[in-house]
């Protein structure tokens, strides 16, 4: 593994954890949902770096895309 690849992996790993913490501590629910979607995209890239292409496609489509849409629809129902 070359140096630049290590930097990318470290950034992805730390970015995922930081986005997860921000998502959990966000005061506004809409903000939390957006952070959750961003975390899903970062996790997708992490799966790509791990070579798990199948999981990456599923994570991008379900984890980042559909779950985000469902959460936003739920937030509208909660009306907060």
């Amino acid at each position: 593994m070359t140096g630049s690849e290590l930097v990318i992996d470290l950034l992805l790993g730390c970015g995922t954890v930081v986005t997860a913490v921000l998502c959990l501590t966000a005061k506004d629910m809409f903000q939390a949902i957006l952070l959750f979607i961003s975390m899903g995209l970062l996790v997708t890239l992490a799966w790509v770096r791990l070579g798990a292409w199948d999981v990456a496609i599923a994570e991008a489509a379900i984890g980042a895309g559909l779950t985000g849409a469902l959460l936003i629809a739920t937030r509208r129902q909660l009306n907060c």
Binding site: K27, M29, W53, I57, L66, A73, Q77
Partner: protein
């Protein structure tokens, strides 16, 4: 349940725990994480007997992608149960209304507010999504892809169609009910039919494995897409909003 969600976010909850306890919990979690990371680094690249096992039996599976081979041939029982779980989820959220079963599956309506950008965008995007989904399904035999990914993409197309507001889906229609169960039904039928040739349920004969897996995947894609759109539909229904507000306000101190 929903009220707990909003209550959990309030500052009242945090104040219950003293700072010392929080610090100890954080320390314990950090130590556990550090220990697991060290263990992972020490462990090194382990021997992976499963990888070689799958690779050596890949030509018997009927597909070239090892992930698809495991999901739909070697461990197809797991995938069958996954599709069944999705159907149970669909039954749990489906609006049970026998009167609506006469209404057509897709009905055209006039949207309350039109988004011209979304409409123009969808005219190009929808065909592209459908074709991409079909490609993902077909390529799943040899390259990364498969029924779940294709179904999720197709569901995305359905949700975008709902957001544009010109169409609405009625999942109590008989066509929709057929879509919801076709994945599990085809999977079960194929799994039972292969007993005739191989004597074991879900053990496909080698010569037919590729085409049988494709048939199952096409049906599963339709079902997964339908169920995911149904989940979104169930949230679109105008709920008694005033009730929710009232409950939340009452329970807030």
């Amino acid at each position: 349940m929903f009220n707990n969600l909003t209550l959990g976010r309030s500052a009242q909850h945090k104040a219950d725990l003293p700072v010392g306890v929080l610090f100890m919990v954080a320390l314990a979690i950090a130590a556990a994480c550090l220990f697991l990371t060290m263990a992972l680094i020490d462990f090194g690249p382990a021997e992976q007997p499963l990888v070689t096992l799958v690779a050596s039996h890949l030509e018997q599976s009927g597909v070239e992608n090892p992930v698809t081979a495991v999901l739909l041939n070697f461990r197809s029982y797991d995938t069958l149960l996954e599709v069944a779980v999705l159907l149970i989820v669909a039954l749990a959220v489906m609006p049970a209304n026998s009167e609506q079963s006469k209404v057509r599956f897709i009905s055209v309506l006039v949207p309350t507010e039109r988004s011209f950008v979304l409409e123009a965008f969808l005219r190009w995007l929808l065909p592209a999504i459908v074709v991409t989904s079909g490609y993902l399904l077909w390529t799943g035999a040899a390259l990364p892809g498969g029924a779940f990914q294709a179904g999720a993409l197709l569901a995305g197309a359905g949700i975008l169609l709902l957001l544009a507001g010109h169409h609405s889906f009625n999942f109590n229609a008989s066509a929709a009910r057929l879509l919801l169960v076709v994945g599990l039904a085809v999977f079960l039928l194929v799994g039972a039919a292969v007993i005739l040739s191989s004597g074991i349920a879900l053990a496909y004969p080698q010569a037919w494995a590729g085409i049988l897996i494709l048939v199952i995947e096409v049906a599963a894609t339709l079902t997964i897409a339908a169920i995911l759109v149904l989940l979104f539909c169930a949230l679109q229904v105008e709920a008694p909003r005033a009730n929710y507000e009232g409950l939340i306000k009452e329970e807030r101190p």
